[in-house]
């Protein structure tokens, strides 16, 4: 499995201004990016937001490769969406929609890349704490979110591994051969993660 080769969602240690910014501010900026792109769907505004996100990426001193990785993962969907929007509404809308998706994904990538998982966990736990009176378990909630982030590289890596295995047997066009093992592998990964937590007594509600 070469999920480890992917850095999508993984923390990138650093001391940039973005790294040092509080998580609430990063979350607010991420929300602002999403609102600007999707609530006000204008080509110039979305293009400007995307440009600003790219500038922020380099301000955080993140590797240039991390800019391309999430886009590459979504490439096929972006092309399909762009093609559909082009035919339905023209090139302006096609670009606006694709740029909006890229801006939001890249912005969330900046948040996870510049925030240690422990900080993310603590902040999520604090954010959910008021819901404890309604039966919510903040610890389990934050653990779930962090494990979800952690699983992104695994799933991407699984897709690549399975694609290579299918190619080696001349099955690269066989959709079943390229998707079923990913599904099975992902379920097995989820199960293994659950066992790894159980092995340390984590994830169970406290009595």
């Amino acid at each position: 499995m070469r999920g480890h080769a992917y850095l999508v969602g993984a923390y990138c240690p650093g001391r940039s201004v973005v790294h040092r910014a509080p998580l609430w501010l990063k979350g607010l900026l991420l929300l602002a990016v999403a609102v600007a792109c999707f609530a006000f769907p204008q080509v110039y505004l979305t293009s400007a937001v995307l440009a600003a996100v790219v500038v922020l990426h380099f301000a955080a001193r993140l590797p240039a490769g991390r800019l391309w990785q999430p886009v590459r993962v979504m490439l096929i969907f972006l092309v399909l969406i762009a093609g559909y929007q082009y035919l339905q509404s023209g090139p302006g809308t096609a670009w606006q929609v694709v740029a909006a998706i890229m801006a939001t994904v890249l912005a969330s990538n900046i948040v996870t890349a510049s925030t240690p998982i422990a900080t993310l966990l603590d902040s999520l736990e604090r954010a959910v704490e008021p819901l404890r009176r309604f039966g919510a378990d903040p610890e389990r909630f934050s653990l779930t979110v962090s494990l979800m982030l952690r699983s992104i590289p695994f799933v991407i890596g699984a897709f690549d591994d399975v694609r290579d295995a299918a190619r080696a047997r001349g099955l690269e066009r066989n959709v079943r051969a390229r998707t079923l093992p990913v599904l099975i592998g992902t379920v097995a990964y989820a199960r293994a993660t659950g066992e790894a937590l159980a092995a340390r007594g984590l994830g169970d509600p406290l009595d």
Binding site: Y11, A118, L197, A198, A199, R200, G201, L202, D204, P205
Partner: protein, 231 residues
């Protein structure tokens, strides 16, 4: 010292063909010694027996309890008390770096973020892994990963540590390093192994064959019995 009790505990699983395969025959055992080894051939039921001890598996029949806590009824409490180390340390590690993985283990015990980070760093130092704290877990060697896996489980301070073939993927040097680490632990240990030298470090050993315990006694006698089965 924990008191582990299996009462007619068995485990069976359905095969892909729909038939039921008995992996562990009904077994009654009391485990309370400081160091206990479980030896036997591949597929003899060692891992299944160990997985029953912290509730990773629940018995199909009978019951398993640790200090009076039933693994079925009090699963969460049992798991907090019984740490489990897998054969493949990569199955154990869930966070991207050693430091983050140790911090995860410490979340319940150490509430302050700063104190948790300091404690994780101290544990890394204790295990000689300090320079690797920020590296990807995939960049560690097999021995380093196994030590880290051990450290992450011990960080939650279990009273009983169960290890499933902990030295199988290690070379001689790392096996010796692991043995010396285990020897220095205060916790009660129950481990399965193919490494008979490691088994001889224990005071009691069980020999398993075809899903049942066929010998239970002093480690030296158990190893002799096991060797005799294949001579």
């Amino acid at each position: 010292m924990s008191h582990v009790l299996l009462q007619e505990a068995s485990f069976s699983a359905e095969t892909s063909g729909g038939s039921v395969r008995i992996i562990l025959q009904p077994t009654t055992l009391e485990l309370s010694e400081q160091r206990i080894a479980v030896i036997g051939a591949n597929g003899s039921g060692k891992s299944t027996l160990l997985r029953l001890l912290n509730g990773l598996l629940l018995p199909s029949t009978g019951s398993v309890s640790v200090d009076g806590l039933d693994t079925r009824a009090d699963g969460g409490a049992v798991r907090r008390q019984v740490g489990f180390v897998f054969t493949d340390p990569l199955s154990q590690l869930v966070m991207p770096t050693p430091l983050e993985d140790l911090e995860l283990s410490l979340r319940r015990r150490v509430k302050s973020t700063t104190a948790r980070r300091q404690e994780a760093a101290r544990l890394l130092q204790e295990y000689g892994l300090e320079p690797l704290g920020g590296n990807s877990i995939y960049e560690l060697s097999g021995g380093e990963r196994q030590l880290l896996a051990l450290a992450t489980v011990l960080a939650v301070e279990p009273t009983l540590l169960v290890l499933d073939e902990p030295s199988t993927l290690l070379d001689l040097r790392n096996t010796r390093l692991l043995r010396s680490r285990l020897a220095g632990l205060n916790q009660q240990l129950i481990l399965s192994t193919h490494d008979l030298e490691l088994a001889l470090d224990c005071s009691r050993a069980l020999v398993m064959d075809a899903g049942q315990v066929v010998f239970d006694g002093a480690a030296a006698d158990a190893v002799a019995h096991y060797r005799g089965m294949y001579s």
